[in-house]
């Protein structure tokens, strides 16, 4: 292979050089879901390619195929002009493809150099590995101490270790998956400077996967935008505006796809720049949930909530839109009594609730359908009946004794009411399908007639039928007077269900619109962290 001539940032030389990595018509289906639909993508040496898209647009699947983690159903992968079959990540590495994963693959109790010598063949040479790390780290201006223990490092430092690990193999193509989701703004800038050096001085190719508009604008030479498994746009970054990218990322067909009359009016042209100020007509329902100036810090010192304020009224669905990792999880934890605030107030139906005290939120009238239902929404090793009654044991017991008949009655009632498909109420929770597990959680939370229902990513991992059911349930809960807080990274879902939409970014609410005022461009910009 001949090293191609350096391409300027803008690319587009008259005689296009052979791309370092190319995907031709790559396709991957999971059942009926087409995760990647004939994706064409190419990255040149000396260029940073941004791959922009919402959660579930197919970015991860595409990268997993390029790295040999997932077998494509169709299409081919071309490396330096030669079609190849990538069977596993080792093969990918031997072809010069390396990835910095979003979730780190480092072992906490081991030191940096120990981690980086994992997977090496032959005798472990501590000194040589240390020297190698120091040398690579210095070359790219990354501050990495080979003898530091991983679990003593901050997330930003851990990412630097991951990057060094990746660069030590001298890859031709470096793929970074959402690298800034764990970084502060300053760290992000540093990272991009480093990437620039990697492409300019060493003629490597970089693929930057992201859903943040501003970083794609600032850090990349070219951007491919993915939506619903397809590359819908592939353009030179220079000259593009955040607005254009947001529009492509979210897509006009968002509102069309649902097909329901309820969201038809999103099609109505909305004035983009102007602040809409029409008042909500009709009587204003009382506020059932009010969070004011909530601040919280994680155990690693990162800010989780940064002065978040929001209100949910009786009988409405408030959709909380935002890109993953901007404080949604912390908000869900807060309302599940798992997180305590360092400052701020949470009021349910006008009463302040102590944060972080187990069960305080639940007894104040907050029901939660947690994001990770397998982990915290249910107990897989208990029976369906146990899972259905565990939220309110007092109702099925007398003087501390469980009354089995009442447990069975309550469980049977909920199983029928919520249409949970189960062989017996004594069947283990583990034996249920994902959709039915979710129904159990919903049934339990709604059975206590909560003032407010928090649904965090309620449809993630569910199939179409289950999603439909879940959405109708949430809608019905709101009609019956519950305030529903829908936390989702799926904009479609938010648009379909919400009466009002708030956007969360870096632990605070950056904007709020009513259903009538929805303007997708503006929403996309707010989600991407652009002032709107």
């Amino acid at each position: 292979m001949t090293p191609s001539t350096p391409v300027s940032g803008a690319g587009g030389t008259p005689l296009p050089p052979v791309p370092a990595l190319e995907a031709r018509s790559l396709t991957k289906c999971y059942g009926k879901l087409v995760a990647c639909d004939r994706v064409d993508l190419a990255v040149q040496r000396g260029e940073i390619l941004g791959v922009l898209g919402q959660n579930g647009a197919g970015k991860s699947t595409l990268m997993n195929m390029l790295l040999g983690l997932v077998r494509p159903d169709g299409g081919e992968i071309v490396v330096n002009g030669h079609p190849v079959v990538i069977a596993d990540p080792v093969k990918a590495a031997s072809m010069g493809l390396a990835m910095v994963h979003q979730h780190f693959s480092l072992i906490g109790p081991l030191t940096v150099w120990e981690n980086l010598s994992l997977g090496e063949k032959g005798r472990i040479d501590a000194d040589r590995t240390r020297r190698h790390i120091t040398e690579v780290a210095r070359r790219y201006g990354l501050d990495v101490d080979p003898d530091a223990r991983i679990d003593h490092l901050t997330t930003g430092q851990r990412q630097r270790v991951e990057i060094v690990k990746c660069l030590m193999r001298e890859p031709d193509v470096v793929i970074l998956d959402e690298p800034t989701s764990v970084l502060t703004a300053a760290e992000s800038v540093e990272l991009f400077l480093m990437l620039r050096r990697v492409v300019q001085e060493e003629q490597r190719a970089v693929v930057l996967i992201s859903h943040k508009l501003d970083e794609v604008l600032h850090a990349t030479d070219r951007v491919a935008i993915m939506r619903s498994g397809r590359v819908v746009a592939d353009r030179i970054t220079e000259g593009a505006t955040a607005m254009e990218l947001a529009r492509e990322m979210i897509g006009r067909d968002v509102s069309l796809r649902g097909g329901s009359a309820a969201i038809g009016h999103f099609e109505a042209p909305a004035d983009t720049g102007r602040e809409t100020d029409e008042a909500v007509p009709g009587d204003v329902q009382p506020t059932v949930l009010s969070i004011r100036e909530a601040r919280a810090v994680g155990p690693d010192g990162r800010t989780l909530l940064d002065g978040l304020s929001l209100e949910v009224r009786r009988g409405e669905v408030l959709g909380l839109a935002g890109i993953e990792g901007n404080g949604q999880k912390a908000l869900g934890d807060l309302l599940s009594s798992v997180l305590s605030l360092s400052s701020g107030v949470v009021e349910v139906a006008g009463r302040a609730v102590e944060t972080g005290r187990p069960g305080a939120m639940a007894s104040a009238g907050v029901g939660v359908i947690p994001e990770d239902r397998h982990v915290s929404g249910c107990v897989l090793d208990m029976s369906v009946a146990d899972n259905l009654v565990m939220g309110d044991l007092e109702a099925v017991s007398r003087r501390g004794l469980l009354r089995r008949r009442q447990v069975a009655e309550q469980a049977t009632r909920l199983v029928e009411e919520f249409g949970i498909a189960v062989s017996s109420i004594d069947a283990p929770m583990r034996s249920l399908s994902g959709g039915n597990q979710q129904r159990v959680v919903v049934a339990r939370e709604l059975s206590r007639s909560p003032q407010i229902l928090v649904a965090a990513q309620p449809t993630s991992g569910l199939d179409v039928g289950a999603i439909e059911y879940m959405n109708s349930r949430l809608r019905r809960a709101a009609e019956e007077g519950t305030g529903v807080l829908l936390i989702s990274t799926e904009l479609e879902e938010i648009l379909e269900l919400s009466d009002r939409i708030a956007v969360i970014h870096r632990g605070r609410i950056v904007g709020e619109v009513t259903r009538r005022q929805v303007d997708l461009d503006r929403l996309g910009m707010m989600m991407g962290g652009q002032a709107a």
């Binding site: 999971y30 879901l33 995760a35 579930g56 197919g58 991860s60 699947t61 997993n64 983690l69 997932v70 599940s336 009594s337 798992v338 187990p358 069960g359 305080a360 639940a362 007894s363 939660v368 947690p370 982990v375 915290s376 929404g377 249910c378 107990v379 897989l380 090793d381 208990m382 146990d386 565990m390 939220g391 044991l393 007092e394 017991s397 501390g400 004794l401 469980l402 089995r404 069975a408 049977t412 199983v415 029928e416 249409g419 949970i420 498909a421 189960v422 062989s423 017996s424 109420i425 004594d426 034996s431 249920l432 399908s433 994902g434 959709g435 039915n436 199939d463 039928g465 289950a466 059911y469």
Partner: protein, 390 residues
Amino acid sequence: MTDLASRDPLPSSPPAPAARLGASTATGPGRLGAVTREVALYVVALGVALAVSALLVALTHGSPGRVVSALYSGSLEGWGSFGYTLDNAGPLIIVAVGAIVSSRAGLFNIGQEGQVTIGAMTAAFVALKVHPSGGLVLVLALVAGAVGGAVWAGIAALLRYWRGVEVVISTLLLTFIGFQVLNYSLSRTFLLHEHGTSGATLTESDQLSSKVQLPQIGHYPGFNFGSGLIVAVVLAIVISLVLARTTLGFRLRLLGLNPVAARRVGIRAAWVGSLALLVSGACAGLAGGVMLTGQAYRITPTISNNVGWNGLLVALVARNRPWVAIAVAFAFGALQAGGGFLATTGVPTDLVNVVEALVVLAAVFPPALDEIRRRRSRAKAVVSEAGGAA
């Protein structure tokens, strides 16, 4: 009754023909197969252990056949031996049931040996120093034993929920402190040291008066056993009912199975977990009290006699099921009784210990294998989920 299976919108869910609510037990061929597999696993493991034991005995110029028959006559042959087995089983059941309570709550208390020691010591204090009338002092002594064990485990609970110290570590280390506490009180006349002997002689206490001794049921050489066994079986029944039928037991199991979900539904880990540890320690302490008032009648530095460790093993082998623990404790008791008899037939004590240990290993092997398999399959599930995520 509605046919709920037809409403399942998910094609991936297993077909449930004629699914009916209320049909509780799921004894399909799969479950039966699993039971058969489990039993076979135990048989194989035990067979290997016995084969290795026989080999060892043969290598040391003994006769494997005579060893087996000695094990049998010491544990099951005749009422006397059988009673001895039962007397061994009693404290093991009590300790095991306590261990089950804490591990069901997700806390691995492994300091039963120390809690037994402290329990026996506090029981001895009351038995020797308090003089009320009638059989009340016996009850008081047993209660004191339970309280002693609970306090000892309570230190671990305090460390866990106040300073975040792992229970496995604190309970283990407290065991060795417990030994020293007993040694100290046995070396001081104003505490427990025997009266009328000089401080330099044996460290043991006075003998308990007959009214502080647990009554024996039946008479040697006929069928006889200590009433400690009755205490043990009643306790096992009570604990298994509490775990299965009360809100407290429900919360405790919930906490053990999924602490995050437990917290979300309002269970306070510090309270429920501490309570579980206290109950667990109280059981071990009670076992110490039963051993003191039922068999030893005076306290010595080795009063605990590995019952704490063995009781913990019983709970492990029984996989935290109180009813099964009774049966396993009986097997362990028989092994102990048989081993004791074997030593009197001239087989070296070291070898007896090795044989006992091999049999115990064989008993622990199937659950351990099962656990490893479960972890592997879980890890696999996680990997495939992560890989398949779009």
